[in-house]
Symmetry: D2
Subunit: 424 residues, 4 copies
């Protein structure tokens, strides 16, 4: 299905008065509403193609209906989200789940929805049906050069697909590691992984970036070969200037201070991109901002500060993506909630009184510093986010409109109740 | 395949001299070898039917070959393990994965292998193909009475299957909970779960036990309705004298002192059974003793002490089961390693000088108490475990013989390289 | 020093216009502002006497100046806080740090400040200079009956002091436990602790409550004898109807779902009181709401819901106290921030649309349930909190006024720059 | 007191027969006993001067008696340990707690005990009585250049003291960080810390090393400026070839894979030294090997492997030190237990069949790899450790002799029951 632009305009009309009242209160109180609104309009968060269907755990999966059955339908779904919120203007593909048979047609289709192609993702954590080699014991780290070769070639092929679609980054997430003490020679695993990454790096077009993602545990439960930011940084540094660390919020040990990691990586010029989600225990892949919204705000506080300090463009100089798993929510609703939570955190970070904050810091005044941060966090910035949407042609309330239009029912009607999308 | 008893005798002959030498050193040094050996012979650990195939994670599964294709083949596999180690004399079935069409025949088959049927396990964490109701939002806690009804009836049916097989306990593990703050009314979820359990409890034969298993997280990532020992104890206490708490080593928050939990539950008369495995991060379901062997020993130290204090029978008054997932190891080899690690921990716990330990405790002498525990833990009890096996007719080295006989290759020959067993 | 009421009125006058503007926007949008404001006025949070000085860690302590040198000065400090926010109308004493030589005079002094005496706290985690017995190896759990006797008598003495002051509850926090595996017989430690608590319980006046506090770790680093809510509940249940569990937010293992614990305890009629603080790693004792404000809100959501379900009075039927350690902030400023964060969380919990939330829950609609909760959390309730303060005669901005009046400088002038208060 | 060498010989005589029996069994079974014994003789673990007295927590301290009252008595205590085990031949001083007024005399005294001076430690986490500047808000990271200057000068002074004593390394542990979100500008804190470290590095003698220690949390409870191995590595790398990372086992987030960190750092040529202790929750500073002995073994497995791979000397090319806090044990007994646990782990790591292990790894055989590691771990290597002690002139059973000689009672007789040593 495609959203009728009229329906957005009509819906907004019914919400407009309340919105204006809230907004006018806002603009009365706060001077810098305008630049915040503009930054919100510019800020786009990529949607991964694998997050459009119901997710699951090793214990099972409870699919909903109307899930996309093809790459075209995935693009349609992201197009729908983008039509609703004008903040999801990119899609991140996963190979081999999303191999485009006709890249030009796919590019055109995406363009019709106003979407560009974000980082492409390789997959060496599963065995494909026709695979010669198995990744049971790793891919880029594998003891057998033939397995490494297959994994390297796969990544280079992913780059080729990405080039054809106009993407400009490759995200490498490795599940490589070990499940038991003794299983792995850590040194050799490191060297083999590095050497494999070097071959992939060499195949990277000049204007591309390579994102090295790290993860503390799962699916390997003793060691992960790219297990923390320190390891990822080490690899990225050895690879060269086009290699960066990618931070996924769910990929840390308990209690990690992620905002400090972000600040350090940005300060060292090695932060490349972001996977948003939320979690309480591990890589729970829950809706962004659903568990620790203050942490999300603190991360954005560091991002805004660090990007500004380096004169970087908020919207384009880092890769922004959601990476979540929708086990009990309608995937599209979950994504709408995630995008909104990210926008709220970003807006709150933008209204932090930076000058006062630096003053408080230099004066070693943690009470004042906390007041300044929490003043921004406690402020209800939703009118700004809604206004940014309105100006961009989106719905004042994407989720509300989604439900009012019975989108899921329409999708089930089109695609059936038992469709299963590829992905996790 | 079935193991030729001759092959065990022959193998043991080749190992006997070395074994005798080690054992004689042992019996020279330590007086109480004999009772320990006898207790080891009596101690049997149930094998769950779902642990006979390759496990997986949400990211994938890398099956090996020769996996059992039927309940009969699962029994054959456990029979094989038991023939090798004479310590795996029970099998724990899971319904609906293992519904026996002819219970008498199945019972006979098991008896031929020297196996009895341990606790039966219900499954309300997955939707079966023909199910009327979905467990997407829970089972015994569900807001809809029809879902609860289906889940209750399923549990009662599981009891019926168990009765037919000669089992005498039902293990209820609930994945019920919530993924997001707000999703669940904790009070109502508690009351509904309790009320559902009461109906199941009412259907329990007089000589049966009900094990209420708890788990901190996964597959629900915000709350679990039976989330910790306190909750499980609360349910078990309200249900009555046939209800007990079941402890799975992997179902705790980070850093939990499991041995203390075990001691308290045993002291309160509410410890019912055990699921052995090991883990570093969450419910990693690794080989018992592969990550924290000292913790396993400390748990057995409390078990032995607590069972003795209540005059309970080590071998029969608690349910002992392995619950692991074999993602990268041959499942049968993994189980052999688990059983051996459990036996070692048990043997070490048995040789602790209890009297001296109590003296040290009463004297508030943690240095001496630690010396006493670690003296037992540092002692190499493997000759005792091997001797117990030898006397019971098992292999002195089960894993060694398994490999020498190329069992996995034989199973692949019989069953094929691409079989997939039911289960996780 | 004592705050001149005039100064509050004057200060409020300068803030009034802005406040009215924000408030009128609020009352325009939301119908139920009035009952929320009234509940906020009634809600009082006790201040512990030991939180009025600079806290420290085992690595050191960096005292500020002007700390209270006596019980009288501690009462004056709490009086000051209460004058500023009219929400800190109770003080919680700690014996032996705060033994009142003339209880009547102390009672009168407190009354002059509008303060009542909250739960009294015993101390068996430190050795006093004149003590006959040492708590090095525990107190109520101790192997030596003479140590238990001393600890029991001390608790009974604390009750006597509390009676003299008009308090009506005793909080027992035990550091009892063990630092090393083997050190403790868990069963005996449980029984001895229970037996000791029974003696204390027997000495409790009829209208008193006994709060059994639990803590996962520190200062014992292997086991704590009252280590989790399950243990505390077990003790409280065995003791009788006047015994309750007390929850301190920082006393849990990583990732614990505290709001669920609160809901269960309240549902079982065994939640007695609360210690507010915040933490990232352990018992960090940071300012309430400074690390995880959403968790604080979720806890209040359960509290409000659970109290209402049992027809309990929010303000009086549970004990509310801050328990924090001020290592780098001015203690009084820290407490003002904590109280405000608690009030905000409480107000947000009060405006949750309960009916809609129950609807969403019954409909298994986690998307809607989250929207409802987050709508309340994202709402800026600070105008309501400020209005509650204004009506109660407090400052619209307690921290702002505190700083404007240079309270700390005045206290240093009165008391000196090098004072050290008793406590942690 | 000084130990009479005769007493060791006499004691050993009483133990000799049993020891010989155990050892002969050992040497019969295992070929490589001799080189292991030699390596154990060479391996010395430094004792920190602050670990000779009773430790404590923020909640209190329960001192024992006979604690050293001066640097001379601290050296005597380490000398006593070394006489007992011949494996504690170094002492690590802490400035300003141990400022030697006459370095030559101190050097001579140490030499008489067979001790050398290990890394010297600076202290910028406490304010000294005569300090001009306060470290309340950090030292090397401080916003105020005067504070940084004081901290830099202090470190340079510590180097001077170290040079005078014949030490050749400086350990810098910084408690710098922040307690609250917002308090710190992470970038500036990083740059200031680096710049301060550069000045200290510049003052380092040519043959010295600088150890940059990291810690995840405590005493700062929101962020630590050198918070993980990645940060420490970053600093060490920027500083130059004399700078290394120091690993303290208790300074990690929950569930961290420390052995992998060790392997990576060693592989990158940046591992400098080690602080041994054990923990369950945080920086619990318990006896080495008392909680997770298998982890200790796994770490040594990586150390031995990594050192050998780089052709490094086990005994001298890394700094080995205990860093523990003795809250409930006699400090000297605790240290004897720690040293023994470390020796056992080291000996077990030395007997791992490396060739077979590498074979198993290359064959992706985690079952066999685990068997190989656990075979070494399950072996009782205590006879080898005892033999190494015997040959070096130490007691076959240091703790046994310590107790038999009533050393603590003698020390109390000499020094009194109420002495308090400097330190934590």
């Amino acid at each position: 299905m495609k959203l009728d632009p009229e329906s957005i305009a009509e819906y907004n009309q019914t919400q407009l008065e309340g919105h204006q009242r809230k907004l006018s209160y806002w603009t009365q109180e706060v001077a810098k509403a305008e630049p915040v609104i503009q930054k919100l309009i510019d800020f786009q968060i990529a949607i991964p193609s694998w997050a459009l269907g119901t997710g699951g755990t090793r214990f099972g999966r409870f699919p909903g209906g109307g899930e996309p059955r093809s790459l075209e339908e995935k693009i349609a779904d992201v197009g729908l989200l983008h039509a609703l919120n004008r903040a999801s203007g990119a899609i991140s593909l996963h190979i081999p789940w999303d191999i485009p048979t006709d890249p030009n047609a796919i590019r055109q289709l995406a363009a019709q929805h106003g979407l560009r192609f974000d980082a492409v993702n390789s997959n060496t954590f599963q065995d494909q049906l026709d695979a010669q080699q198995s990744y049971k014991f790793g891919s880029l780290q594998h003891t057998d050069p033939a397995v490494r070769r297959q994994a390297i070639e796969h990544n280079i092929e992913v780059i080729r697909h990405g080039v054809a679609l106009g993407s400009d980054a490759l995200t490498v997430w490795l599940s490589d590691g070990s499940c038991f003490p003794g299983q792995l020679n850590f040194r050799k695993a490191f060297d083999r992984t590095l050497s494999s990454l070097e071959e992939i790096y060499a195949a990277l077009p000049n204007d591309w970036k390579l994102f090295v993602e790290y993860k503390a545990f799962e699916p390997n439960f003793y060691s992960m070969t790219v297990g923390d930011w320190g390891s990822s940084f080490l690899y990225a540094n050895k690879l060269g200037p086009k290699a960066y660390t990618l931070v996924d919020l769910g990929h840390h040990l308990p209690n990690a201070n992620i905002e400090q990691i972000v600040a350090i990586l940005l300060h060292q010029g090695k932060l490349g991109g972001f996977h948003f989600n939320d979690s309480k225990y591990g890589d729970d892949d829950l809706t962004a901002g659903s568990i620790k919204p203050y942490q999300l705000f603190l991360i954005f506080t560091e991002l805004v500060d660090g990007l500004d300090a380096r004169g970087m463009n908020h919207a384009t100089d880092l890769g922004w993506m959601i990476d979540a798993s929708h086990n009990v929510k309608d995937p599209l609703e979950d994504l709408l909630q995630s995008v909104e939570a990210i926008q709220i955190a970003y807006a709150q970070a933008l209204i932090v009184d930076r000058e006062a904050l630096e003053d408080a810091r230099e004066a070693n005044d943690p009470v004042r510093a906390q007041e300044i941060l929490q003043d921004a966090f406690r402020t209800d910035v939703r009118p700004l986010v809604a206004e940014a949407r309105r100006r961009a042609g989106a719905s004042l309330n994407p989720l509300g409109l989604y439900r009012q239009l019975n989108v899921r029912q329409q999708l089930i009607g089109e695609r059936g109740a038992k469709t299963v999308t590829t992905g996790l």
